[in-house]
């Protein structure tokens, strides 16, 4: 047994026959002569050992098996068409896959609708989301695990060779849970007062680079968590205190679950950035570079 007798020509023939209603009409549509279709169909029927058409009546009627091959075959034909155009795309500079490293300061879910839109247009380009924290996000880019990263500035290593696109500014706010002792203080709170409570810190995911830490590190009590989401939840639960990015907690400030506290430590604003290998002209990379905006990331806050 050599191999599968089902051919793409058969699938196209079945489709045309079903659409036009007869061998004759289908033949015309396919720029062939009816006997050519008979030949195509009979060949497969013989090789497969089953009937695709019921010839008892004089108008050929598809058998259930024929119908199955038609139905599934349409999907296969569609796949092959998509595949051909995707192959052309890739040959003309679209990457087969794009890996996006997202720093935990952003909500990866913000990118979902963007990725969905992209995938609609480019079904065979796989998009991978990878999570990182602080220097760890940069490390993804540096060690080749990601093609594009989304991070905050001030974290980039001194290394050359990376293109950086700055997006909107982000603000950090020092907040505590609504039940927290500091929540009631209306005046500026001193560092000593803050030192009474554990600080929640997001742990850098880097393996090789020097880990960075944001905010105070000279506090004695410190709880580290793997992601910004954990930090937010920990602070809401009252486990500790610390700065949180405004765009991630707007909702909780509005609802009152988190309360801002004035602190002496100046708020150092910083920027959301996109970064990628210099010289990477991939079109998928470019697409995301254009489409990832402050709005998409939820940074367009009126403060």
């Amino acid at each position: 047994m050599a191999h599968n007798p089902i051919t793409l020509d058969l699938l196209r023939a079945l489709d045309a026959i079903d659409q036009r209603g007869s061998f004759a009409a289908a033949a015309t549509a396919l720029h062939k002569v009816p006997s050519a279709l008979t030949y195509t169909v009979q060949k497969v029927e013989q090789d497969l050992g089953i009937d695709l058409f019921d010839r008892s009546g004089h108008r050929a009627k598809m058998t259930p098996a024929g119908r199955l091959i038609l139905d599934e075959g349409r999907g296969i034909l569609r796949d092959i068409d998509t595949l051909a155009s995707s192959a052309k795309k890739i040959a003309s500079g679209w990457e087969p896959e794009l890996r996006i490293g997202v720093d935990t300061i952003f909500e990866p879910s913000r990118l979902f609708s963007l990725i969905q839109a992209f995938n609609q247009e480019h079904p065979y380009i796989k998009v991978h989301l990878i999570h990182g924290a602080l220097s760890g996000t940069w490390e993804l880019l540096i060690n080749g695990s990601a093609d594009l990263i989304l991070s905050g500035d001030g974290l980039d290593p001194k290394a050359e060779g990376y293109e950086i696109k700055r997006l909107a500014e982000m603000k950090r706010v020092f907040v505590v849970s609504k039940d927290h002792p500091l929540a009631s203080k209306s005046c500026t709170v001193s560092e000593e007062e803050i030192a009474e409570y554990p600080t929640i810190v997001v742990k850098d995911t880097t393996q090789l680079l020097a880990p960075k830490t944001v905010g105070w590190t000279r506090h004695h009590r410190m709880v580290t968590v793997p992601t910004m989401q954990d930090k937010i939840e920990a602070q809401i639960a009252g486990l500790g205190v610390g700065f949180l990015p405004l765009h991630r907690i707007k909702h909780y400030l509005d609802s009152g679950d988190l309360v801002p506290v004035k602190v002496s430590q100046p708020d150092e604003p910083f920027k959301a950035i996109l970064a990628y290998q210099k010289g990477n002209t991939g079109k998928a990379l470019n697409w995301f570079r254009e489409h990832i905006t402050a709005e998409v990331l939820g940074l367009d806050l009126q403060v």
Copy 2:
């Protein structure tokens, strides 16, 4: 532009080349001569207008576009193989789809693992689950909406022409919520006492047949619900009282959420049945007829 230049032969060629590592080895595996592969590949490259192999080095290396076609092509080849064998199956008596009507007295989820097993074996045979209640389940079979039904006996219309397979016996228990006034009665409860409380009744889904009702109908107060699951939940919530099938409430009896009450009305045991059109020799039907057992339905209770 006639049509897609990608052929199944190309996909098979790419697969072989990738597996064997060279045109020469692949050619051997495909019982061809190397130049035949060159021809196949070059033809598609020319028609598609892109390179599938990088010939700058001496050993041909697949381009990203070639790799994409290979990767997706493997899936397509697999699909076509499955399709061929499924078509043979259907031609030899397996139905393209099987519609199973399940009476609300059973938990449809009991069939899930069975359906999963079936689908593993017969990926192209679609299984539909349809819900019905009382005569409505029979109606599914009679009006051709279902090929196989799962019901309780005593509901079958007098009509001829249906094959019935009896499964295990099912018991009904009169139960009330744990907080219900009747829950504390340890002696037999009279009909008058029961009449104090609304009875929960599953409404027959039939459109054409004479609707049946199980249990008492001469009670004044009656709440009808669409499914057995609703009835169970209503009784747990204390909304009313009534008989419930033991196999659906074993768990709640054990946990004490439902409490059995002795009643004068005799418990009329009835049987789970499978029914289908006489003369239906479909193999999928047969498969389910064999595999749907008392155990699968959760009827194998030690009482």
